[in-house]
Amino acid sequence: MNVLSEQKNGVILLTVDGEVDLNTSPQLRSKLKEILKEKPEKICVDLGKVKYIDSSGIATLIEAHKELVDRKGELVLCDIPKKIYSVFELAKLDMVFKIVSDPSEVIKG
């Protein structure tokens, strides 16, 4: 798994690539914690290149979402592959997260 972060127009864009499971999710959690220390208002997590995510990866996203919501921020998920979206539906998380199809919907020039 690779995680790349960049700032675009005040939004932190986090691009995740590969498989997120019990072995790799601590790396994602660590990256999100590092970003959250900077108190960003909005984080956009691009999941378009994610081939697999399990409950530990989803839990990591929920943790970050809760922390941002607590201080009136927002975590947006984008470009979720269809098979992964079905897991978000199973967990009823499609109703919890703001989900968009493309990062450009969040990062406006």
Partner: protein, 140 residues
Amino acid sequence: MTQHQFEITALPENLCKIRGSIEPIVQKLGFDEDQIYHILLAVDEACSNVIRHAYASGKDEKNKIELSLDDSENKLKIKIRDYGIKCDPSNICGRDLNEVKPGGLGVHLIHGCMDQVYFNCDVEEGNELILIKNFNSKRR
């Protein structure tokens, strides 16, 4: 009837190997892309639980997970066997999905992804979890 069996050390870094071993088998059985993902997720979540709870004492090369896949009787039956701390199935429950919090999702996902999920209570040592996915009209 076709049966496949694997044994692997119960380590987080081996979860991708488990998924990689199972994927071509379930692909050959004709499940669609979403169903394949759901089967891999259920097995992965169950093995993660074995690593985190049954073998909670930590990393040990002696801690093994045995997996068997059996595609008889219009269903895929997957057995996940460990020799760790015995769990009480009555204490295993997923979280309330209306409550948004990080933990407790794995059990819910296992049940949501498979048609039947139960423990074989006859094993004396460790645990044996049975996961069943029915073949249905959604197969390719």
